[in-house]
């Protein structure tokens, strides 16, 4: 598909900007909010998952996805682009396992995913991905959790806590006040829900948000029943 174009569609403007990437970031910032918080013993990812119609059967489509035993992803931006990145990330994680017989450390997988995203800003005939990813994982060698953000440009940032998507500025301000290094995973889940609530229109239920947690045991998405319990605790 991209072999037909030998030239990149992402080119520099006179001011030194790559406008296509700026536009991709606009797509991200218009997407539904996602939050990631790193606790002392794990990471939580949370996102709004509003369906556009009552007819949607939204228990079968997921935004929070696992990549391998110890890593998970969530996004803000374009769903289909995200789907592709999830598939690529899963394959990259398995390729690593095949060569090294070890679970991929979060830092390594993030580098590889970011390289994929960067490729699409320089290769011929393609456009950048319209998503920013929040990647969480547990590093068994260093025995600690990690949270990273990956942008359409291919830059990646390690975070203690962050918000992406709509109203991310408010989200980050909220997190700056609420975050502490001593946060345990349970508290982090509460804080994540409260952060989402800041920009949430309407009633938050277990069907219109998704939460994933990653700790030493691995990554998993919370069931709607578990989400309901957390929501009840917040009241």
């Amino acid at each position: 598909m991209s072999e037909r174009y030998g030239f990149s569609l992402t080119t520099f403007s006179p001011s030194g900007k790559l406008v296509q990437i700026e536009y991709a970031l606009n797509a991200v910032n218009a997407g539904s909010p996602a939050v990631g918080i790193k606790a002392s013993n794990g990471v939580v990812l949370a996102t709004e998952k509003k369906s556009k119609s009552l007819l949607h059967d939204d228990r079968t489509i997921h935004k929070v996805e696992s990549v391998c035993k110890n890593m998970g992803l969530v996004y803000s931006g374009m769903g289909p682009d995200y789907r592709l990145l999830v598939q690529k990330a899963r394959k990259l994680a398995q390729e690593y396992m095949l060569v090294y017989e070890e679970n991929v450390p979060p830092t390594q997988l993030v580098k590889r995913i970011a390289d994929v995203m960067q490729e699409y800003t320089q290769s011929g005939g393609v456009r950048p991905f319209g998503v920013s990813l929040l990647i969480c994982g547990y590093d068994y060698d260093e025995d600690r959790p990690f949270l990273y953000q990956c942008d359409p440009s291919g830059s990646y940032f390690p975070w203690k806590a962050t918000a992406i998507g709509r109203n991310f500025v408010n989200g980050k301000t909220f997190l700056e006040k609420r975050y502490s290094d001593q946060l345990a995973l349970e508290d982090a889940v509460h804080t994540a829900i409260l952060t989402l609530k800041e920009s949430f229109e309407g009633q938050m239920t277990e069907d219109n948000i998704e939460i994933g947690i990653c700790d030493k045991e691995g990554f998993r998405r919370l069931t709607p029943a578990e989400v309901k319990d957390y929501l009840a605790q917040i009241g």
Partner: protein, 207 residues
């Protein structure tokens, strides 16, 4: 000898486990069929603080595979900012060998390692196309491997300390190579412990 590629150059290596220590040893002969060219050709290479690999077989492949593995391990350490673990090194090696499944390298390998924190010991062997083994007590490769296996099984005891391990490894190797014309001309023994690595050169029968 004849036209058997794996015995063209000769050579042998042995690895044995002890209690929180491992030993790996090899001979030093480099020959071309029945001619001995050099007596300083060691077949053991270090890839991390406590990870060693021995390659036996065609000399050119001993050199090339050890270097190509080093290439990969160097990049690994730069990318991951951490040292290699024995299991990871072993899998990288078998992966490298299997990449050439249908035009293989002619080396059999031994991988040994130690976890300096837990004292856990690792001894693995591989054929020339990357068949993996379990973590074993004793492994040998090379033209005299059968002779050394027999002696190794005789001298091996579980949970040996580093001195006993050195003796067992050395005796098995030195006496085994005496039965093989393509191996010998001296030996090198590495004993790897949690806090130190001891290298000893042995002078056996110089023939």
């Amino acid at each position: 000898m004849g036209d058997d590629i794996l015995s063209y150059n000769g050579g042998v290596a042995l690895a044995m486990k002890g209690k929180e220590c491992v030993a790996i040893a090899c001979d030093k002969r480099y020959g071309v069929q029945n001619r001995t060219i050099a007596t300083n050709f060691t077949k053991i290479f270090q890839y991390s603080d406590h990870c060693f690999v021995a390659f036996c077989g065609l000399a050119t492949d001993v050199q090339t595979v050890s270097e190509r593995l080093k290439f990969r391990t160097n990049l690994y350490e730069l990318r991951e900012q951490r040292k290699l673990k024995p299991v990871v090194l072993y899998n990288m090696l078998t992966n490298l060998l299997y990449e050439r499944r249908f035009g293989p390298y002619f080396v059999f390998a031994l991988v040994v390692g130690l976890d300096p924190k837990t004292g856990e010991t690792y001894v693995y062997d591989s054929d020339n196309v990357g068949a993996v083994s379990d973590n074993v007590n004793l492994a040998t490769v090379g033209t005299a491997s059968e002779y050394i296996f027999g002696l190794g099984e005789l001298f091996f005891k579980p949970n040996m300390n580093s001195d006993e391990l050195f003796e067992a490894t050395s005796q098995a190797l030195l006496n085994g190579v005496d039965r093989d014309s393509a191996s010998g001309w001296g030996a090198v023994v590495y004993v790897i412990e949690k806090d130190k690595i001891t290298v000893r050169e042995l002078k056996g029968r110089q023939d």
